[in-house]
Every structure is written in structure tokens, then in C-alpha cells.
Symmetry: C2
Subunit: 102 residues, 2 copies
């Protein structure tokens, strides 16, 4: 499937709460969503509370529709409790490659 919408978000967990943020993200309702083609969670090796998510969606509309759902908003609310400050966003649209991280 091709990707026409994407972004990368970097967030900082409250001190020591990085594992909880990772667990929330790896259980995100985006992952099984058919229009979510890329959902890659990464972490800083130097600071395990700095966490990145790179997302790629078939369309911006599909992402917006998903983001308005209750599961998505629940995830956002849960994340807000665990992170400090605002997430930073980078303009990145995934174009190809692989990721089979288990």
C-alpha cells in the first residue's frame, strides 16, 4: 500500500516513564488499522525517555477520521498523562522500506 500522508512525532516521557509510553504506543489502535501503513516506534539510546513515532497513512483523510475516534482520543489522553511538554513534529512521509520489529 502506498503512503500519501505521514509525520514523525517526538515526545519526552516524564522521568522514568518511558517504558509506559512505549507500551501504550505498541498497543495503539493505529497498528491494526488498515490505512495505517507505517507505525514505527523508536527510542533514544542515550535518553530512554525520548521517544519517536513515525507514522505513514494511505491518506490524510483516513488519518483524520481515525484520529477522531474514541480509541484514538483515549490513547492521546493516556499519553498526555505520561509525557512532559509538547510533542515535536517533523515533516516526514514514509516512502519505502521495511520494519518487522517484534
Amino acid at each position: 500500500m502506498s503512503v500519501h500522508h505521514g509525520f514523525r512525532a517526538t515526545m519526552t516521557a516524564r522521568p522514568g516513564r518511558g517504558d509506559e509510553v512505549i507500551a501504550l504506543l505498541l498497543g495503539a489502535p493505529s497498528l491494526p488499522h488498515p490505512d495505517c501503513v507505517v507505525f514505527l516506534v523508536g527510542r533514544s539510546a542515550g535518553d530512554p525517555d525520548v521517544i519517536h513515532v513515525t507514522e505513514g497513512w494511505t491518506t490524510a483523510e483516513a488519518h483524520s477520521a481515525f484520529f477522531a475516534t474514541e480509541p484514538a482520543q483515549t490513547l492521546v489522553a493516556e499519553l498526555q498523562k505520561l509525557i512532559t511538554g509538547d510533542s515535536q513534529y517533523t515533516d516526514e512521509v514514509p516512502v519505502g522500506g521495511k520494519a518487522f520489529v517484534r
Copy 2:
């Protein structure tokens, strides 16, 4: 497979050469390599000459061994001709997720 080594590189293609850089990266010898678990190519929507690669490897040793091979060094040399300035690296180790971009 789990990832114990990773990074994210951001490079800027010479003006208008972004497509060639993407093509080189999507043909990179890293992609079929069994120790390369994540190789995600992304591109700025705002500036198609800004290109990102997020890599995840089973170990740092596996990556170093691969990087010393002729195919890897040939890729680096080819990329050097197409990019301007130095690539910027971000400390990111992929921890989970999916990417099936074709």
C-alpha cells in the same frame, strides 16, 4: 527479531536530485540483509530533497560488518555524489511497530 542498534540519518539531496537518492536508498543492500530489521526511507512533504532513513539492526557489530562491505561502500559513494553537506544523525533505536510500504 529484536533491534539493539539503530539510528536515523537525514540528508539533503542536491537540488532536484531527491528522486535519485530515494531510488538508491530503496535499492540499498541493507534491505535484504537479515540483520537489518528496520530500513525505513522517508521524505519531507515540504521539501522533497530532504530525505530520512531510519535503520534498526540486530547488533552494532552486524551493522559495522555490513558497512565495511563493498556493496555498502559503493552505496555510500553513490549517495555522496547526490547529496549536499553532511548527513545529520539522530539517536533513535527502533523498538516496535510496522512498515509495509511498497
